[in-house]
């Protein structure tokens, strides 16, 4: 008998996808380019060699941690629940497979791409040895910590997927878990110095590997911070294996049916929308989440010394905007994907509604669901702008005001782009999670990637003075142009394709 047959099947399927190969090449290219930029900087005395070594190590480890945590949880959060919704999970249990076979198979297949990317990028950490300031022990700790991060968050994602039925709930819970366990807890533990909490999450091992550069006085013990999250990961897998068959009952879908029967979906806020829009928008949940983040980040340091207030304000603004953008991409991708998969969209096109009206209805629904959260975020931005100017956060209140205004404008531009690109990709791919991920990659990550890939040649041409003030302006200019290019090009592309190919895509089975 084959060991883990689902893993065999899924791995064979992943091996036939070109993206499996392209993604690891991209990861290696980005990591090597960043590493080379710091090597040139270190060897040409733009900064001291050991500082450059520590910087390249910190930048690569932090970027890899964020990407692996997000990929691990977001890729797995809907894998079992999708099988439940499509009714194929029950068929798998008829074949004699048990819960562990299915959960482990899904986990192995979905982790494989991220694992390949990590393996391709790990040799770039060697640049830090060339420069100095980092020992082999730190490298081993970071590598193990990154592997642990991927495993922990993928296992958590699969547990969430085994517990929920609907795709929206899976995405929301995984986003919340990522935010809490991946970002908020590590940051708060660093600020308040709580090594005991860090033992429970994989960020502890990363902070231990980075050492004092991470800004933590007493990092947690390495062995405990590696073993405890790893054990927790296996616990998540065990729980998911037990829960996956147990929840496979028709009663799991009773909640939406009850809600539809009670008539709560046709409330007055949807009076002006087309009658086919039945997905309830929940702007207040997002607003509450944003308020929670603001409270967590701002209340404590706001009245403290300026050294804590300034980073807290920057982190709050960036975090609020990122959540809003993620929400826009996720909702836009979900709107047409499910309808296309169920054939509802094709039926809808036989009614007097045409594609223009359907797209307009989707955008209206999206605007209504994002209006209050966006207004809340803008209010927080305004408050922080005033507080920053009042406290002279960066020594120059005018610079702070300009930075906040630029970030707000950029957020609005990104929201517009993500709405269109998410709508189109949701329709084309018919898979909301993949569509949202790809929209975020095109609009938000691609400009960063292009600048990172330019870093090594730029460092070579400018003889390592990449971080000097005379080179910073052209680099910032190139970054701005690539941001503008990605937004305008992909938005225009999505609008074109939605206008030209809507019917053809909606009719695809």
């Amino acid at each position: 008998m084959t060991f883990l047959p689902i893993a065999h099947l899924e791995l064979r399927r992943a091996a036939r996808k070109p993206m499996t190969y392209y993604s690891r090449c991209l990861a290696a290219l980005a990591a090597f380019s960043t590493g080379l930029a710091f090597v040139f900087a270190g060897f040409h005395r733009a900064m001291s060699a050991s500082t450059a070594g520590q910087a390249v190590f910190g930048v690569l480890a932090a970027s890899a941690y964020v990407l692996l945590a997000a990929q691990g949880i977001l890729l797995t959060c809907d894998c079992v629940s999708l099988e439940k919704r499509e009714g194929t999970l029950g068929l798998l249990f008829l074949t004699g497979l048990n819960g562990f076979d299915i959960v482990a198979g899904k986990l192995a297949a979905l982790m494989s791409r991220s694992l390949y990317c990590l393996m391709a990028a790990l040799p770039a950490f060697g640049f830090a040895f060339v420069l100095g300031g980092v020992g082999p022990g730190d490298f081993v700790k970071a590598a193990l910590g990154l592997l642990n991060t991927l495993f922990y968050f993928a296992a958590l994602g699969i547990l969430i997927s085994a517990c929920v039925w609907r795709e929206r709930a899976a995405t929301a819970w995984s986003g919340l878990a990522l935010l809490l366990l991946g970002a908020l807890l590590p940051m708060m533990s660093v600020f308040v110095s709580l090594p005991a909490v860090l033992v429970l999450i994989p960020a502890g091992a990363m902070l231990a590997a980075l050492g004092p550069a991470a800004g933590m006085g007493s990092p947690p013990p390495v062995a405990a911070s590696l073993l405890v999250p790893h054990a927790l990961g296996w616990l998540f897998i065990g729980a998911a294996s037990r829960l996956a068959p147990r929840l496979e009952t028709p009663a799991a879908n009773a909640r939406p049916a009850r809600r539809a029967a009670s008539g709560r979906q046709t409330k007055s806020s949807f009076r002006d929308l087309p009658p086919w829009v039945v997905e309830p928008a929940r702007p207040f949940l997002t607003t509450a989440l944003l308020a929670l983040i603001c409270e967590g980040f701002l209340l404590a340091p706001l009245f403290g010394p300026i050294g804590i207030t300034a980073p807290a304000m920057v982190v709050t603004i960036l975090l609020l905007h990122s959540i809003l953008k993620f929400q826009a991409a996720s909702q836009a991708s979900r709107m047409l994907a499910g309808r296309r998969r169920s054939g509802e969209l094709e039926l809808l096109l036989t009614t007097p509604y045409d594609e223009e009206e359907i797209v307009r209805g989707c955008l209206l629904e999206l605007k209504r669901s994002l209006f209050w959260p966006a207004l809340f975020a803008l209010g927080v931005d305004l408050a922080l702008l005033i507080v920053g100017c009042w406290k002279q956060a960066f020594g120059d209140s005018l610079g702070w005001a300009a930075a906040v205004v630029a970030e707000v404008i950029w957020m609005l531009v990104n929201l517009y782009s993500l709405s269109w690109v998410g709508l189109f990709l949701g329709l084309r791919l018919a898979n909301p999670a993949r569509a949202a991920g790809r929209a975020i990659f095109y609009v938000m990550l691609l400009p960063w990637l292009s600048v990172i890939c330019l870093a090594a040649p730029a460092a070579l041409v400018f003889r390592g003075r990449l971080f000097g003030p005379e080179i910073a302006a052209p680099i910032a200019g190139i970054f701005g142009i690539s941001l503008l290019f990605c937004n305008s090009f992909f938005t225009g592309w999505a609008i074109n394709e939605l206008r030209d190919r809507f019917r053809a895509l909606a009719a695809q089975s």
Binding site: V461, F462, R463, R465, G468, E470, I471, P474, G477, I481, L484, F485, C486, N487, S488, F489, F490, G492, W493, N496, R499, D500
Partner: protein, 156 residues
């Protein structure tokens, strides 16, 4: 009675959604108009060229410019040589000259190529592509000049 051999017929044109064709041509012009702005219109210029290629694929008309690639490569080599000699102004002049050359080539292509599908907005398609090319060439010239000045500053 002797049977008459069938007369050679021209291949029938494939059926094309003409409404979509005309809309794409008009959109290509609008994007080209926005794409002529150097640097800021780069995305729109690429979209205009993408639309031109899509329309070309549908109608069977050649989308690429005859001689555009060769003249662009020659101009890039000349621009790098001029930058090496420190002739910044000449690089910008070369960019404008290249724009004019591309425009002339496009005009020739518009005149010579026989349209295979009826498209009343065909001239807009060519205008859009020409403007997009102009935007791309000017953006490239500006980027080259900026890189050269940054290298010079770094050297000094």
């Amino acid at each position: 009675m002797k049977p008459v051999p069938p007369s050679p017929q021209l291949p029938a044109p494939e059926s094309v959604d003409r409404v979509r064709l005309i809309r794409r041509s008009m959109r290509c012009f609008v994007y080209g108009l926005m794409g002529v702005v150097p640097l800021f219109g780069l995305g729109m210029a690429c979209l205009a060229l993408l639309l031109q290629r899509q329309v070309g694929e549908e109608t069977g008309e050649p989308a690429g410019l005859a001689g555009a690639k060769k003249s662009s490569i020659a101009a890039l080599a000349l621009a790098l040589a001029l930058l090496g000699c420190g002739q910044d102004g000449l690089v910008l002049a070369l960019g404008i000259l290249l724009c004019a050359l591309q425009g002339y080539l496009l005009y020739l292509q518009y005149q010579r190529a026989e349209p295979r599908q009826w498209n009343p907005a065909r001239h807009l398609l060519f205008w859009g592509a020409g403007l997009a090319y102009a935007g791309l060439v000017l953006s490239s010239a500006i980027v080259l000049l900026n890189i050269e000045s940054a290298i010079r500053r770094a050297g000094s």
